[in-house]
């Protein structure tokens, strides 16, 4: 499905691609005039159109403002299929890093209290957080049974084993563990890859940042979230490591084999899929939920390491979890489509769930306010806390980051890692990185402007800004 897709203005920062050819629904792109030139010449829009061909897809194939070229699905894509209308689940619509996501921890301390200790704190984080290849993990699992418990119970099991407090569980999406996880559907290679990586950051765009609340945009919601100007917080961005990747790889192969039996044809092999109600669909959702639980336990184990680093350097390990939310996941959710309540399989690939106030799946103490939506910026730039609001367009979804404009390869050719490190340190950001090139590949110039991405989300009615966070230290995988 090549050729320049035709975009038609369809509202504030909203563009429509009419359904043509095999597309079952239109494509809807959320983009400002500033972002549009960075998006419209990419293959990403072809991928939006390809996703629109999936069996059972309803409403539209959505693209968030941070969209960029992925494989199969675009990164920044949202698609929902009607479970009772032969709708499919596609592992490519979740992505390799199942339950890749973000959590934000809030310190009671202000930046003025942490600043004298920041270098010691970053050294301690660097020492305690395993990054890169062969670096080990925070949590050495006792045996295979314990891995099974992690796959079943996610961060609840991590907390039960001493890697956190009960309040952490309450503030984690799905209360720390997706129901219907089926550890038996996680293959042997995936289990072996996951056995030694629980509580590790990995590499790529994953990071732990010490941040300070720079600006409060919505004082009322910020107060409900426990955010105040000058406050120190810690953002953790990572996922389900090799285990999640292997689950995706294994399932894409299996589903390529089963699609013919289900009479399904897709325009890209990475869009391999199966009906949600089929044995293959159920097997994937069980394995995916198990991998997602591993991802939550991974972030929980890293949280424990971060708290110890704080205790050793700033004198208190108190870091309250504001929220933990995935941006690579497929979930069965009820939504109104064409005036009818329907059970949908909502794929969010590089997109964040953004439930509005009063949604039943929110924690009790956040229900009146809405779901925190955590949006990391590119390295060295602002990150944001948003809140789900309004009608919940795109099945209550928002952006997940700044979104790449440049390949890793191109970024590492233009920017030297050491130059970037000095530049960041010159701006008061302490950097601890596993490799210089890994640092260069994540240079801010390789990404869109997160301020513009977030503002676009707000103008399009996807989510509302609450606070802007500025980095003061980064541990880079």
């Amino acid at each position: 499905m090549s050729g320049p897709p035709r975009l038609r203005a369809a509202g504030p920062d909203r563009w429509r691609i009419e359904a043509t050819g095999a597309m079952r629904v239109p494509g809807i792109l959320f983009a400002s005039d500033v972002l549009l030139p960075q998006i419209s010449d990419e293959e990403a829009l072809d991928q939006v159109m390809n996703v629109a061909t999936l069996p059972g897809i309803v409403e539209a194939s959505y693209a968030m403002p941070d969209i960029h070229w992925g494989y199969g699905f675009p990164i920044g894509g949202v698609a929902a299929t009607d479970v009772d209308g032969d709708g499919v689940v596609s592992p490519g619509g979740v992505g390799f890093d199942i339950s890749c996501g973000v959590r934000l921890l809030l310190s009671p301390m202000g930046i003025e209290e942490i600043a004298p200790h920041i270098e010691a704190l970053m050294d301690e984080l660097d020492a305690r957080i395993p990054t890169g290849l062969g670096a080990g993990a925070v949590w050495e699992l006792a045996d295979d049974d314990e891995l099974t418990a992690v796959l079943r119970d996610g961060s609840r099991h991590a907390v039960a084993r001493g890697f956190g407090v009960e309040a952490d569980v309450a503030r984690c999406e799905d209360s720390g563990a997706m129901p219907d996880a089926d550890p038996a559907m996680v293959g042997e290679r995936a289990r072996r890859r996951g056995a030694g990586q629980l509580g590790s950051l990995g590499s790529g765009n994953h990071f732990i940042e010490v941040q300070v609340v720079e600006e409060i945009v919505d004082a009322s919601v910020a107060e409900s979230f426990g955010l105040r100007r000058g406050q120190v917080c810690v953002m953790i961005h990572c996922g389900s490591r090799g285990l999640g990747h292997q689950v995706c790889s294994d399932t894409v192969k299996d589903m390529q084999g089963s699609m013919r039996r289900h009479g399904i044809v897709v325009p890209d092999p990475q869009l391999a899929c199966a009906p949600v109600r089929s044995p293959e669909g159920r097997a994937y959702l069980g394995a995916m939920a198990a991998a997602a639980n591993y991802g939550r336990a991974n972030r929980q184990a890293l949280t424990a390491a971060v708290r110890r680093a704080f205790a050793d350097t700033v004198g208190t390990d108190r870091l309250d979890l504001l929220y933990d939310v995935s941006h690579n996941l497929a979930k069965l959710e009820w939504h109104d489509v064409d005036g009818r309540r329907r059970l949908l399989c909502v794929h969010r690939k590089g997109a964040t769930r953004a439930f509005p106030p009063e949604h039943a799946d929110l924690p009790d103490d956040l229900r009146a306010v809405g779901q925190p939506v955590l949006v990391p910026g590119s390295m060295g730039t602002s990150s944001y806390v948003l809140v789900g609001r309004g009608a919940g367009d795109a099945f209550s979804s928002a952006c997940h980051g700044a979104g790449r404009t440049m390949s890793r390869h191109a970024a590492s050719r233009i920017v030297r890692g050491e130059t970037l490190r000095h530049e960041l340190e010159g701006r008061g950001i302490a950097v601890r990185a596993a490799s210089a090139r890994g640092l260069a590949e994540e240079a801010p110039m390789a990404y869109k402007d997160v301020d513009e991405v977030v503002a676009t989300c707000e103008r399009a009615g996807l989510a509302h800004r609450v606070a802007r966070l500025r980095p003061v230290g980064v541990v880079k995988g």
Binding site: G70, G134, H245, S407, R408
Partner: protein, 149 residues
């Protein structure tokens, strides 16, 4: 983008890394399928490690892929590089790939401990089927794969 890797200006065997906004794309070529596969595996290692032959601790690990479509054989071998890195903290530095009698491939790879090579970038974690290609064109084999890092 063309459906075939553009390796027309390269002779013999070799590999290169190509820009892809999501992650990293590799291209490899060779005089036969086995050579092309070995080059693709070398390209994958080049994404994250600077390889030196004189690393102190070396092991030989077997390689095998059963008979299937060429792209599936390519994926199987690339996934083996990812697997030994993830599970054993090992980095392959040399590859020997040969055609097997059953239509698959067999061989081995010399690996070193991750601590004995210079890690220069994020380690790939999966191979995508998006734009995946492998085949014989005008008597030369070439392939392309997008890998997730």
């Amino acid at each position: 983008m063309s459906r075939e890797p553009d390796t027309s200006h390269h002779a013999g065997r070799g590999h290169r890394l190509v820009a892809h906004t999501a992650d990293c794309m590799l291209e490899a070529w060779g005089e036969n399928r086995a050579a092309c596969l070995a080059e693709a595996m070398a390209a994958l290692v080049e994404v994250f490690a600077e390889v030196h032959d004189d690393a102190p601790t070396q092991r030989v690990m077997p390689l095998a892929a059963t008979a299937s479509a060429d792209v599936d054989v390519l994926v199987a071998l690339l996934e083996e590089v990812i697997y030994v890195a993830d599970v054993f903290g090992a980095v392959p530095v040399r590859f020997h790939v040969a055609e097997a009698e059953d239509g698959g491939v067999a061989g081995d790879m010399v690996v070193v401990d991750a601590g004995d090579v210079e890690l220069i970038g994020p380690v790939p974690k999966a191979v995508s089927y998006h734009h995946l290609d492998m085949g014989e064109h005008d008597g030369r084999w070439s392939c392309r794969a997008v890998v997730d890092v």
